[in-house]
Chain length 484, copies 2
């Protein structure tokens, strides 16, 4: 019997968690629960990350956390407990499944458009690294990074999960037409991984087109994998399609620890009143059972839930206004009473259990995810980001005095648009320029060459930032300026 | 009489443009048209930016371009003509209006949910600057920049436009809970501008929540202003809500040149067959008339269009399958025949013309948008982004040998998560670390101090990138690491 950690959460958390565990126990789910201390009330007891050391130890030794909604105290400078959990335990994939639930009215269910979409979102990278700087008083920068091994982890998970759930199609959502290097890398990894799954139809779509199609033809999508911010936006859009966060489960998957949670709020106004809807948390729990390979019991509980919703039973937040709502515990009991029944729409098939391949082991150092590829590499230049409120020609004139015989000044751009050697007088400038220096004839440079240029240039300008220009296998590992 | 530049475009472009100009002429629109050469066929004639020098000169002297859909030749390394136009002429605001069109069926129109949303998207900044670098073989970086004056331009436009159209509410969509400095800046500027418009209800919403609400309660939004990528995604989502790109006009607004265009494709398969739907281009043209202050004639044409759609007249791409579709020219004629009629749903009110305040003047240098604020400023450290596949403690040990007596090594992070001095063993690493060096007691540093540290550190590591840490008015102008 597997033991998992359970954190009931704040607000309506305890009552919906109790309802779900009551359903699990009635279904004889073969799990044991270790209740841990985590949430706003733990912050309030003085634990700055919202959990006790014992809770953290238990979760790390068990590897699976089932959690209710939690609140982060406001205005105390503490980080969101949900973000802390994802970061601390490196849960690199966020998986959310959105399906039409008959009995939960939406414009799409009314129009008879069926929805069954799983969004897998990268959970660590992108601008969520929170690496931000003001370069001048006027220019703010957020570093959006996408890594090859990070993309590999989440995309591999997405394919493996899609295969396990019997998906037909897996789609990569991206903006590689604009972010050619970062999203281009994500897309490249996607098609590399796809080769190992020939039975899955793998394709890709630009994220804005994806969002347009999701609100017109959501029935055409199956599994979609995306980078962090785009995935965040698309998952909430999809939650809207099926009735909101109250009907959308969530899983945060890592190699060592995975977290299954409802992502809706703690609804303090109705807490303790037996009014809350436990559906999202129950669906998250069902996802957890599937993750643990307990496919049969997961299908049984899900069928009972779908049957119950279909029959018109509902809590106060949804459903037919003509029929009276019931309470949280009665809703749970209605599901238990429907064990063994199958819904008319989309009954879940009987599926054999899968051996649980989740491994819990002790790490003695941080995993380093380096790609094994080694490539011929050289430094061929540097982008110097400088502060100046002068016109492009004056900036160029000054730059040209530096790095002579080693570097060519090849382009100066402002907000990504080239302003020197050619440009448009209509380009509005901000007080930061990017000056690109490349080595003459792509000669390999040393770091000392870059440092010498920096030192020389700093006599004329404040250099806010710099990026090396690399060349690998004879290809430039950087983008050209618009107009270059 | 104002003269504007007209580029008919590729594929179905010429026939839908002819249809729209036919409607304009029948309505006695007081404009003259100067037809310019721009599009794929101009690329094919050997002009690498898709327009002739005469076309560019005409557009720049007239200040308004009305354009049909255009194609960019594939695989020739040429930039998208649409992007080139926006960049060259600094059209900093993209405005798109999405309204329920009775006669165009969508799940929302069937559900009786009215939509009338205007999205204003910043059009220059964000990751659309295309500044990307590979820092190591595994780590790709896109620089997402948001500037104070760039935000000011687009937000001022949004408020001014909202006031002109009689909007009640203006909402800022953002992700400032994650991108606290960049989107925080955008949001700060939004509320600063809002103070000058006390009659408009100004509020803000997290972009993922916005997308969820747009697919459940789109009728609650009016004008929404966003940064570039988020605005791109949200506008296409909204196009989906009203029936797709065929019903969504677009305007790119600059201080000197503005572009009004249909953003759908060139549909080469039906080009020249009199089958294309001119609605999006006509709506874009109506937006252009409003921009020029010709409010009365714009309302007349729009009412005739709405009446025509409402009456069930349609081209082959939409409408009741039971009634036969008509051709492009017949569709235009039907609208002309309905001049003077008003639709049952959402008739446009008679509005007085507004004096045209668009100015066309010659620029002799690039406008510099620097904020006038001057602030007490000092350099207090540097983030060094280094390549290494060693464990955090080894990296720290080496770093600690550099910059002694000047700098403290305060944190090392990997993908934004702190791994030294404290961290979690579960954090998966990539082969790039960010090492933050701050001056002892926040002493003001010189650029030479930074250069000396760089020079010293480069003996142990390849430094891929660096960012200065600034302090203004005693506040840190950079974010802390997760866990710092």
């Amino acid at each position: 019997m597997i033991t998992i950690a359970v954190a009931k959460g704040d607000g309506i958390g305890p009552e919906i968690m109790d309802a779900v565990l009551h359903i699990f126990n009635a279904a004889n789910v073969p799990l044991k629960y270790d209740i841990v201390e985590m949430g706003k009330w733990v912050f309030d007891k003085g634990f700055s990350n919202g959990m006790t050391p014992e809770a953290q130890e238990t979760i790390e030794s068990l590897g699976v956390l089932f959690k209710g909604p939690m609140e982060t105290p406001k205005g105390k400078g503490v980080k969101s407990i949900n973000v802390t959990a994802r970061k601390t335990w490196n849960t690199y994939a966020n998986k959310r499944t959105f399906q039409t639930l008959h009995g939960v009215d939406t414009v799409f269910s009314k129009a008879g458009i069926p929805i069954d979409i799983t969004i897998v979102r990268e959970n660590i990278e992108d601008t969520y690294g929170g690496i931000e700087h003001m370069l001048t008083h006027d220019v703010a920068l957020s570093r959006r990074f996408i890594t090859r091994p990070g993309s590999m982890q989440v995309i591999r998970y997405a394919f493996e999960m899609a295969k396990k759930k019997g998906a037909k199609r897996i789609t990569c959502g991206h903006k590689a037409n604009i972010m050619k290097i970062t999203d281009g890398l994500f897309l490249e990894v996607f098609y590399k991984v796809a080769k190992a799954y020939p039975t899955l139809k793998a394709d890709d779509i630009i994220v804005d087109d994806l969002c347009m199609k999701l609100v017109t033809r959501p029935d055409t999508f199956d599994v979609v994998v995306l980078t962090n911010l785009q995935g965040d936006i698309v998952s909430d859009l999809c939650a809207g399609l099926v009735g909101g966060l109250g009907f959308a489960p969530s899983a945060n998957i890592g190699d060592h620890i995975s977290i299954f949670e409802a992502v809706h709020g703690t609804a303090p106004d109705i807490a303790g009143k037996n009014l809350a809807n436990p559906t999202a948390l129950l669906l998250s729990g069902i996802g957890m059972l599937q993750h643990l390979g307990l496919m049969e019991i997961a299908a049984n509980i899900e069928n009972a839930l779908l049957y119950t919703l279909e029959s018109g039973v509902h809590t106060g937040d949804f459903g037919n206004k003509q029929t009276a709502p019931i309470g949280t515990t009665e809703f749970a009991q209605a599901i238990i009473n429907n064990f063994g029944k199958k819904p008319t729409h989309n009954p879940k098939p009987d599926t054999d259990d899968i051996a649980n391949t989740c491994t819990v082991y002790k790490l003695d150092k941080n995993p380093m995810l380096e790609s094994v590829e080694t490539e011929q590499e050289k430094i061929v230049g540097v982008d110097m980001f400088i502060e100046s409120n002068e016109q492009p020609n004056s900036v160029a004139e000054k730059c040209l005095a530096h790095g002579k015989n080693i570097f060519n000044l090849v382009t100066i751009s402002n907000r990504g648009t080239q302003v020197w050697p050619t440009g448009s007088v209509f380009t509005n400038l901000v007080n930061q320029y990017r000056c690109r220096f490349e080595s003459i004839n792509n000669r390999a440079l040393s770091q000392q060459d870059i440092i010498n240029l920096y030192s020389s240039l700093s006599k004329d300008f404040k250099v806010c930032s710099l990026e090396l220009l690399n060349m690998w296998h004879g290809s430039k590992a950087y983008s050209l300026a618009q107009g270059q």
